[in-house]
């Protein structure tokens, strides 16, 4: 969002008398990604392999840089190669492939994922519609665009129905001052301010009550009629919504977005030292009346690239009160009351030049050792912030999914950094401009072991039912990649990784491959090789 806003605001706005001049452009890519995993699941006899597609089309209509219309259309997104829905009744005679995802569910061939318009007004820019949201390093809001990860692939992407206004307040002031007195030559400061509103829910399909009614039990709750029968929530069929489903404002979920960012480019620090400096804060206030939710998200970001040094950091916190999470606590008076207190951050620093970059990365996502108490403290980092190929991306995503089950999908990690802190030193070497060789090492430690997804060890600062783990750390992982680009558009990547997972992770009970050491403790060794072939345009 930041880069796009900056480009948009920087463009010259004066085209009032220009002739009608539409320009159409098309960006996007087609990519195929191949995956091979050895010994991922318990009992897996041979390497499991699959390949997936994605077509991403991003057409743009541009009227003189004053008014633009954007779309993002995804096709065959995540569709696994082959006919996996028995479109041919005899598999051996299969011909036409299906659109089956890796979850085994048939997907739609084409999805219009985003569509929005952007237009300039004298003091700023409006962006209205279903649009990507991205901030900083993408720990909270990550657009999932492009091939920007050191290892792995973007799979999700943050999209919001948003109305946003952005301006450069100091630029407006200096422009006015210089118009009044051109001799002043008041210097501009590259500061962007933005304000937006996101409509997250007009009417939730799952009806929220916040109290339970059971006609077979006597209750003195005056909210329960004699035949009312529901839990804290009740799943509904969309066909049973009445005509006024959109009228009720109590169940609406919306958020106010505030952004303030300084972006200094080409700053001159001395005769020979120049660089870029970015610093800003992204504040979101999310609300829903019927669940008494009032949550404040504060996300700070800073980045410097001065001479050959590079440093970047993002820290986020989510604080507030809600009754929306129906994992009821033991509090008889107010079992759904939850207080959010979530933290996450990533810090990167190192050296970079056109040929070589040496980066140390460290990150953290707070966990929750008691998900049913009144404190809600765990949330993974955004799943498109990739750290390696295996541990977070494949192992923890499966462990959290298998442990929580379909009933608590909102608590899955989906591949994001989960309830842990990690280090991830990595190196990138470019022997020639279109060839990169990358290597990385990741090691992760638990934050708050919960006994189900991260097992507890004697001495952990948490109360657990059992303390079966013996390792201090969760896992370590090594990754290698070679990335090559030629013919201007073809992008080929081959990546591989090995992860050693300790007895902190319940591999045995979540269906993953495990071995047992001489002391009777489980561990797992996992391999993957993955590849990407993409045509970018």
């Amino acid at each position: 969002m930041l880069a796009a806003l900056w480009l948009a605001l920087a463009a010259t706005p004066a085209h009032a008398d220009a002739p009608d001049n539409w320009k159409f452009s098309l960006d996007g890519y087609y990519r195929v990604r191949g995956h091979a995993f050895w010994d991922l699941y318990e009992g897996q006899a041979a390497a499991g392999t699959y390949m997936t597609h994605r077509v991403r089309l991003q057409p743009q209509l541009n009227f003189e840089d004053r008014a633009k219309f954007f779309m993002q259309v995804d096709a065959l997104d995540g569709a696994v190669f082959g006919d996996n829905m028995s479109q041919a009744s005899t598999a051996l005679f299969a011909g036409d492939p299906s659109n089956t995802g890796i979850d085994g569910i048939e997907g739609s061939a084409i999805t219009v994922r985003r569509a929005w318009t952007e237009f300039k007004v004298p003091v700023g820019l409006f962006r209205v519609g279903r649009q990507a949201s991205s901030w900083g390093m993408g720990l909270l809001a990550n657009d999932g665009n492009g091939f920007d990860d050191t290892f792995g692939e973007n799979k999700y992407g943050s999209t919001y129905d948003r109305v946003l206004f952005a301006t450069r307040p100091i630029t407006v002031g200096t422009t006015v001052a210089n118009m009044i007195n051109p001799k002043n030559k008041v210097q501009d400061i590259p500061l962007i301010a933005a304000f937006g509103v996101d409509r997250l829910v007009e009417d939730p399909l799952i009806q929220y009550y916040g109290y339970t009614c059971d006609p077979t039990e006597t209750t003195d709750d005056p909210r329960c009629g004699a035949s009312d029968d529901h839990g804290y929530t009740l799943e509904r069929d969309p066909t049973r919504r009445n005509d006024t489903w959109w009228v009720d404002t109590q169940d609406d979920v919306y958020e106010m977005v505030y952004v303030l960012v300084y972006r200094g480019e080409g700053l001159k620090f001395s005769e020979s030292i120049t660089g870029d400096l970015t610093a800003g804060v992204y504040v979101v206030n999310r609300k829903q009346a019927e669940t008494q939710s009032d949550v404040l998200i504060v996300d700070g970001y800073v980045k410097e690239a001065i001479a050959n040094t590079y440093a970047e950091a993002e820290v986020l916190t989510i604080q507030g009160d809600t009754h929306a999470i129906t994992l009821a606590s033991s509090d008889p008076e107010d079992p759904l009351a939850k207080k959010a207190a979530i933290w996450g951050y990533v810090v990167r620093a190192g050296y970079q030049d056109p040929q070589l970059s040496l980066i140390m990365e460290h990150g953290y996502a707070s966990g929750d050792d008691k998900p049913t108490d009144e404190n809600f403290t765990g949330r993974p980092l955004h799943p498109d912030h990739n750290v390696g190929l295996l541990f977070y991306e494949e192992i923890m995503s499966r462990v959290t999914a298998n442990s929580w089950g379909d009933g608590a999908k909102g608590l899955w990690s989906n591949g994001g950094v989960y309830n842990s802190r990690y280090i991830f030193p990595n190196v990138r070497f470019r022997p020639i401009p279109n060839l990169e060789v990358l290597g990385g090492f990741m090691m992760a430690w638990p934050d708050k072991p919960d006994g189900s997804r991260i097992l507890c060890k004697e001495g952990d600062d948490v109360e657990c039912v059992t303390y079966s783990a013996t390792s201090d750390y969760l896992a370590w992982e090594g990754d290698l990649a070679v990335k090559h680009k030629w013919a201007d558009h073809i992008n080929v990547t081959v990546e591989g990784g090995f992860a050693h997972v300790t007895d902190r992770i319940p591999l045995r009970t979540t269906g993953l491959q495990f071995e047992t050491d001489a002391d009777g403790h489980d561990f797992g060794d996992f391999w993957t090789v993955q590849s990407r072939v993409a045509y970018e345009f």
Partner: protein, 303 residues
Amino acid sequence: MSFRYSFLLLFAAACATSGSGDTDTSSSTVEPREFSDFVNTTEAPTGDLTCKDAALGTVDPAKQVDVTFNGEVHDFQLKDVVAEATVNFWFDDDVSATMSTTVQADTKGAFTVDLPACTPLAYESTTPVDWQQTVDTYEVHQIYGYEEDGSVDGEYVNSVSQQTSTLIPALIGLEWDPTTGIIAGTAYDCTETGIGNAQVFIHDEAGNAPPTGEIFYFNSSDLPTARDPEDAATARTNPDNGLWVAINVPVGVWIAEMYIWDGSTYVMLGSTQLEIKAGSVNISNIYTGHTDGIAYPPSCLVQ
């Protein structure tokens, strides 16, 4: 949690916690568990317990006849129908014996089977493993009442979804070892309402507690909770529901007993016997005044 460290301190802390080696190889010995590890409350029970020593009545043999059971398979938690489940019955109430009959529910979860009324029996509901939909669910000591017209309608058998079996240990903070089983039940009073402040003790026929198999109780919102040392209510049944669950109970035959504190001593209100099979859930309720888990409905008794 609080934001405790600066970036540099956090970085250093993450590196430091790696310790000096891969794993701690020290081993710990597991102490055998005793009655007092399970039963230790001194809170007075809630519920109608007046039938504890009352006569149970006599079963009328004339009512132990075959009836047509028109039932459905229901999800244990959501009460939705479970389509195309297989239901196996043991008319002798012994799941280790040869199965008496088997039936498959239709796409609406409905099935019909002839079974003996007023007779304790056991069933298992199951769906194919590949569906990843349910876990094998056992319920023993089931008794369907006598009907004049020879037809039992409106009853159902339970099926525990994989989702529920996954979520319960996850909420407690425990991993379920699939070589063991789960017991879930309700501590019932004389009106078949959940008893509050009761505790459950599991042991084998020799009186020994199983080496694994922690017992947890549900809160007033019907969610299982880990025991909180600062909240003694988490270690006994909640008056709102009387629900309890035992996770990681080894395979074998076990006796589950329900105790209350009467002000001076622990009193056993009732018990039941069950057999655990690996990877399954066994629904076993305990009724006040019944030491075998068998509670005949009034229609089965000599009037």
